[in-house]
């Protein structure tokens, strides 16, 4: 018997992601769009094109906006990462508004997790704002960070304070690449301390979320963790993929 297609939607703070997976979990469709000012409308427009009887599970900040079953981003990313990499024991998701680190037990269940508090320190939003301040696109920003030296330190993790710090450094004529490196290092130090608090066991570490598209973050995190790190292919859609897997599981059970 072939399983039906299932769909997952991740209504995040910055983007909305939709994944439609076939019975084997292979992604047959993926969309990533700006959440805009009306994430409900954005999400509704996206799912309109999915056949009406498709099981759909939602996650992300707007997970309860559209009246479908929902799971948290932690569970969604864990399911997605584990599907992609059955030996994944730890997941780092760097999203627009949150950083989440999830440990999985050998059955793939969430055993422990850490998540940042209310502010945007250490998140995708932090890096986005700082790249804008330095006049880089996100890709240029990561490349600059990899080329930069470690001669500059950013001491504040608060987005507002760090921005003033960057302004100060720029005005003292410091090299933009070095500042970019320092900003990435600041994020990595924070993420790494959350990672160390969890004391994850052996197994693969997977990086997902929009932060996974930033090569400098991946390289620096790998150094900080002292362990090889796998960047999920198409890292932004891992949560939506996890939802599609959950939707298929529920469909199969019923």
């Amino acid at each position: 018997m072939t399983l039906r297609i299932a769909a997952g939607i991740d209504i995040g703070s910055v983007t909305v992601k939709l994944v439609v997976a076939d019975g084997n979990g292979a992604v047959v469709r993926r969309d990533v769009v700006d959440a805009g000012f009306d994430p409900r409308a954005t999400a509704k427009a996206l799912i309109e094109s999915v056949p009406g009887n498709t099981k759909l599970v939602a996650t992300g900040y707007g997970r309860d906006l559209i009246g479908t079953p929902s799971i948290t981003e932690l569970k969604a990313h864990a399911l997605g990462a584990r599907f992609l990499f059955p030996d994944c024991s730890c997941l780092i998701d760097i999203g627009g508004q949150d950083v989440k680190i999830v440990c999985l037990d050998n059955k793939g269940k969430v055993s422990k997790f850490e998540m940042n508090d209310r502010c945007a320190a250490g998140t995708g939003k932090f890096l986005e704002i700082m790249s804008g301040r330095l006049g880089f696109t996100l890709d240029e920003f990561a490349a600059a960070a990899l080329a930069g030296s470690d001669t500059v330190t950013i001491s504040s993790m608060c987005t507002v304070f760090a921005e003033s710090e960057v302004v100060g450094l720029v005005n003292r004529g410091r090299n933009r690449q070095d500042i970019a490196a320092a900003l990435h290092r600041a994020v990595v130090v924070r993420v790494a301390s959350m990672y160390k608090r969890l004391e994850p066991g052996p197994g693969r570490i997977v990086l997902s979320g929009g932060g996974g598209r930033n090569r400098a973050l991946a390289v620096m995190l790998e150094q900080a963790a002292g362990k090889k790190l796998t960047v999920a292919p198409d890292p932004q859609i891992v949560g939506a993929l996890g939802c599609a897997i959950e939707a298929r599981r529920v469909d199969t059970v019923n």
Binding site: E73, K75, S111, F113, D117
Partner: protein, 426 residues
């Protein structure tokens, strides 16, 4: 609700505009969080009534009592013995507040990064919105954490009579002696306030009243171990909150009547939530009215709160006073023994608290523990680090939550709580 209490509030010196605003918010919050709950025991109508009259009928009772010479003692801590207050013929009311108010005013007295409970209590004073505080003839400030004891230095300028009670921070023999001295000073203060001598009979009678009140809450706690949970955690927290303002005898009668109903519900397997709903224990800082944020998130996301290891909960109400001594000195010793067993995080070391959390988790069959700390509350924040580790090592899932009274972190908080619930669901 037809009585207009504005003249009474005005005579107490409340700021009527501010107070109207607060009442509006409080009423709306109560409506949306409590009245929307399904399958509530019918006796929760008592709670609804108490809350609808929390600044009305209860204040009128207190004000009427004042006219008969019954003095009012306001407190901020479970270490202040209600027994002594009652024995002097006075009434005791809790003053801790659970909502941000007049924050800009507060920041003229206190730094921005002090805990929300202290800030809020100042805000209620500076905003002129707390009739309990305005009705108080004396306010007791107890030296617990650094935040509170330094804040009382500023509060002294704002209230007419602030009585400082020193508290030990260890549980040694010397600590017991210190607490005894302080309780004796408090007896003297209550006697001079009321003009009444505290007698052995009077104190024994007061101990019996407070013991009965605590026993009713113990009974409620034990009933919450049933599955399905016979009452929501929100309603149980509210009971622990009104414990601080309600007339103790009336409270005891009503909570016992509620427990009778819960006995029946348990036999009939009627729950406030479905059988096998995920069960969580909350442990940490007190939650004063209307701070219902955390249990509300938990109970609208698929779990039920089955116990509170808190000053507004079992830490505050556990243990009775041994009422067998026949001298005043002997009774004060019994009070000291009971109160010094409170395992507040200001004590060092405080291993009893961890033991108590484990006991509670087992007794109420909790699937996990939410360690709740207010931002900047050093004692509970530090303890949460070690306790989380110890609980996990004992196979009890635990999560640390650090928050305040604002709503700005609702999104992140909800995600974390929901993920924790997903984690502990087997």
């Amino acid at each position: 609700m037809s009585t207009d209490y504005h003249p009474m509030w005005k005579s107490l010196g409340l700021n009527l505009d501010n107070h109207d605003k607060l009442m509006e918010v409080l009423g709306a919050a109560y409506g949306s969080l409590f009245m929307s709950q399904k399958n509530r025991p019918t006796h929760t109508s008592y709670l609804d009534f108490v809350m609808s009259e929390v600044h009305g009928l209860r204040i009128k009772e207190i004000v009427d009592g004042k006219q008969q010479g019954k003095k009012v003692v306001g407190t901020y801590c479970t270490f202040v013995p209600e027994e002594i207050v009652l024995a002097a013929g006075c009434v005791m009311v809790g003053l801790c507040a659970g909502a941000d108010f007049a924050t800009e005013e507060v920041e003229r007295y206190l730094p921005r990064n002090i805990c929300a409970l202290i800030k809020s209590s100042f805000g209620f004073k500076l905003g002129g919105v707390c009739p309990y505080l305005e009705a108080s003839d004396v306010v007791v400030g107890e030296n617990t954490c650094d935040g509170k004891k330094k804040a009382y230095e500023a509060l002294k300028r704002l209230v007419k009579d602030l009585f400082i009670m020193d508290l030990p921070q260890t549980k040694t023999k010397e600590a017991m002696a210190l607490l005894k001295t302080e309780y004796k000073k408090f007896i003297a203060k209550m006697e001079s306030l009321s003009g009444r001598k505290i007698t052995v009979e009077g104190l024994k009678k007061a101990i019996a009243i407070v013991n009965a009140k605590r026993s009713a809450v113990h009974r409620l706690s034990a009933l919450r171990s049933a599955d399905p949970a016979p009452i929501s955690g929100l309603d149980a927290l509210l009971i622990n909150q009104i414990y601080f303002y309600e007339d103790p005898v009336r409270f005891t009668e009503n909570i016992n009547a509620l427990c009778d109903e819960l006995d029946g519900r348990i036999k009939a397997k009627t729950g406030a939530f479905a059988v096998k709903t995920t069960r969580l224990l909350i442990s940490g800082c007190p939650m004063a009215v209307p701070n219902w944020k955390l249990p509300a998130i938990i109970e609208t996301h698929g779990a039920v709160v089955v116990g509170e290891e808190s000053c507004t909960g079992e830490r505050g109400t556990r243990n009775l006073v041994t009422n067998t001594a026949s001298t005043l000195d002997g009774l004060v010793d019994a009070l000291v023994e009971r109160y010094l067993a409170i395992d507040c995080a200001v004590f060092t070391p405080n291993k009893e608290r961890l033991d108590h959390i484990k006991e509670m988790a087992a007794a109420y069959k909790a699937d996990g523990v939410v360690l709740y700390s207010l931002n900047f509350c050093t004692p509970y924040l530090v303890e949460a680090m070690g306790i989380e580790h110890e609980l996990e090592a004992a196979g009890i899932p635990a999560i640390k939550i650090e928050t305040d009274y604002s709503q700005e972190d609702m999104g992140q908080l909800t995600t974390r709580i929901q993920a924790f619930i997903e984690r502990v669901v087997s």
